[in-house]
Subunit: 151 residues, 3 copies
């Protein structure tokens, strides 16, 4: 049976994932940066850019990427938390992200997964490592992504 | 750490949100009304109509709106609960709602958020205030919505 | 108020639903079969085939169906758990499943619900009965489905 601490941490981890999505949809790069550890490593795939290290880089890249759109909506589900220690967890989730490009082009749709390592940091949790794994896209440029590993 | 009471209330609040969605998809205006307090205030944006007060009005408007469609599917995720008191919470969630219009027109897609105030009512929770905030739509008429507040 | 045992079981049941979706997206029929009881009954609707009994049949049908696609993404939300006993629950959830057909045809979209009976099995939970109820589809062949029961 899960402990109260574990269930509480699962809820906090879900809140963090949702805060990240919310900041994306509000075009809030500062809020996005605050979801990551100072020395985080984030890999959104080679089409977006090389893996980025550090909260400041994550902020800059989010600011750059979000201004491509007039609107986005990040629908996050299928959250699975596996604790490696009491203060560190591997967290997988599934994302359907709708994007309306500023160019007026047809909407972009992203069907993907976040494969994260999260760590307890003071009173809360932060994302220490993130990989975006992509099942498929609609409308996006023909970028190279990290695959989900389908057989 | 969250208490057992808080985690239990979070689960009950999620159940209420899901019951609302289920009643939408089943075209059950009575069930929808039962999710709200007697004196609720609901604002689905100026394109849908002026803010509505009271459970009976909510029921009537749901009945009116749902008969526009042959089918809908409300996919709710990103639930975030902030307790203002032990018996009152602000609850945000993200909605992808698919609609098939009765007219035979192309499907309508809604990417939105519920911004709710929920209150403990007897054994359960009810929606006391709701605002529908819209990130974007596909297929819908050019209605005016409440915005999510993207920068 | 929910007990710690109930909240722990709810988390385990959500994990099971997510594991199923993950195995679908990874094209892992063995993993799918492992989500079901040995004597499970699964009904995906007459268009997919007659109700199937047993884990081995479930595995075979998943293997057959998943090879229709180059990619899928199963977005599961709106999980509602009702315990019939401490070891048996009725579980409803809402699915948006995106499919990219191997044929190169336009993407298939499924808006549906899982109506499951789950049972405690040793340390975890397994799906004993499943019905797929369909709100609507886009792109799919004109198969007959089990309806969600909209009024």
């Amino acid at each position: 049976m899960a402990s109260l601490q574990e269930l509480s941490d699962r809820a906090a981890i879900a809140d963090l994932l949702h805060a990240y999505c919310r900041c994306c949809d509000l075009n809030d790069p500062d809020g996005i940066a605050a979801c990551f550890t100072e020395d985080c490593v984030a890999d959104y795939g080679p089409g977006v850019g090389p893996p980025a290290s550090g909260r400041a880089t994550r902020r800059a890249e989010a600011a750059r990427d979000l201004q491509l759109f007039d609107a986005t909506s990040h629908h996050l589900s299928n959250i699975v938390v596996e604790f490696e220690t009491a203060d560190r967890a591997r967290v997988q989730s599934v994302l359907y992200a709708w994007h309306r490009p500023r160019t007026g082009d047809a909407d972009w749709h992203l069907h993907a997964q976040y494969d994260d390592v999260m760590v307890r940091a003071g009173a809360g949790w932060l994302i220490a490592e993130r990989r975006l794994l992509v099942a498929g896209t609609v409308g996006f440029p023909d970028w190279e992504w990290l695959p989900i590993g389908r057989a």
